[in-house]
Symmetry: C3
């Protein structure tokens, strides 16, 4: 059996993640009855938003889809496919849910690895890793004028955070990058699927005060 290049596997998984996230964005656009252009825009921003933000903030050259337009192509084709396919076939929610967990894990692993290579900082790498995984979905929700789901949903971004932490620790222990990427992504997928399966969630914000006001609101405050 021939040995397969790990970089190639990662690239394929990355494109798979782009496709899944584009489908997710397209379905959100469908919920708002957008036209075919709106569907492509939401598909593109969901699929490429996280990595775009990461590259813009790292300031290490142009963003990834400017360097390699294959990402653009995959995202556009996946959105168009969704637009057409939902008219004739049922949406495979369960398959999408598992694919989404995989996409989240791959984006997180790539974001963490790229950031630690550029900056060398573990805490920055963790923030960027989580951001690469979840920002696309957040932009999707903002464009649909909703509160981003990842901010109030059962363990989602937290799964990305655990995987990112795992990568950073393995990097310190000088585990080879390919193994670190694989194990970190596996950790995220496992936690995410466990959270779905047993309906796990994090503690929610609770306050003894009424919160229906803002810090910058002056109402009877300094008289």
């Amino acid at each position: 059996m021939e040995k397969v290049d790990p970089a190639l596997i990662l690239y394929c998984l990355d494109l798979f993640g782009v496709a899944v996230f584009a489908v997710s964005g397209s379905l959100a656009a469908g919920r708002k009855r957008m036209d075919v252009f709106g569907v492509i825009v939401l598909g593109l921003t969901t699929a490429l938003g996280g990595g775009t933000l990461r590259d813009a903030l790292l300031d290490a050259g142009p963003v990834f889809w400017v360097e390699n337009p294959v990402y653009l192509l995959v995202a556009v084709l996946s959105s168009l496919f969704t637009f057409v396919a939902v008219r004739v076939i049922s949406i495979p929610w369960r398959g999408l849910l598992l694919s989404d967990a995989l996409g989240l894990a791959v984006f997180m692993a790539i974001g963490t690895a790229k950031t630690i290579a550029v900056t060398g900082s573990a805490s920055v790498a963790m923030v960027m890793g989580v951001m690469t995984g979840v920002a696309g979905g957040m932009i999707r929700d903002i464009l649909s004028a909703e509160v981003p789901l990842v901010l109030r949903r059962e363990i989602y971004a937290t799964a990305a955070l655990c995987g990112s932490l795992a990568y950073v620790v393995m990097h310190r222990l000088e585990v080879p990058p390919a193994a670190s990427l694989l194990l970190a992504a596996l950790a995220t997928v496992t936690i995410r699927i466990a959270a779905i399966r047993w309906n796990l969630s994090l503690p929610v914000f609770q306050s003894k005060d009424n919160l229906d006001r803002d810090v910058t609101e002056p109402r009877d405050s300094i008289e």
Copy 2:
């Protein structure tokens, strides 16, 4: 008759686009009863948002209004003018609608041309061209907490896409840049005005399933 420099015409059209988009942002702020500062912020972000995003993603030096603050000045003055003028004169909706089509076309043409000069990639140039034209209006709608209109409106961004495609094709055929810019912008203006005149629109997302759930939602999914 003296020959006029095409670059100068383009610069004037660009400033005209900035002014029109600033007016559009200011009117959106008015709809939300913002104060004079909110009006300026929405005017500025609508007028400069698309080009700002383009320059941040291209990573080819600081954004255009940091290089040339005249854009800032035009956007601020147009917003202030709107704030004052609407108290005494009627809003010329028809004129604004046509001006908006012109602004969209100019921003699209400049965005496409700049991106192809920096990256050489036709697909990236088309995404950036459309984004330069429509992102300002999208940011305006996000700041007003609404679903961006360009995502659910009759042919708007699609007009920009057609113009951008036209530019890219002419670039390949080695048409001189000035002529390409002019013809591409003309294509966008024509399509946009035809869409308004005959009320054209693109097909809307339709699904045989109920879409009121999200891909990341686990409800009865993998038990």
Copy 3:
């Protein structure tokens, strides 16, 4: 008495501003019943959003918290502290309101000073200074799916604008940077607190027309 380094004071005030803005973001997350992760995300984006946008647009190296992760740490710890503390203690609204004015002033002063050092342009520095102060709060409100408060609130961003203008003028008059920073921040704090104390506000957008339509809306327009 030993002389204290002004740069050190500024750095401490900057971290103080980050902490206050993180608390403000965390409370907004609480209002939307987010979980602990959502609270940290809103705390982080509120605290670091303005400076992040500034650094991304200036294109002068990576953003500040990539260079110095202490900012990340302070923002995360402040958010976690808020998450825990509100369960047992009352929220000190008055103290937060005054702290917020101080944070706004420090962020504005640092943003203005950094921009004028990089670009040399007074108008760009004023835009960036105000943006550094207010963008974090705007992103917070967008992520909570609300119209940003700074766009419709009594004098807030305007206080930042006045301080920024003061800095720019002092820079031209060759006042030493440390004194300019201090006086500009003082101007912003004073104006902001006066606005709260006497309930000052700017004139609101008023139109003789009905504004419930958009510039890009074609309704009976060019027939």
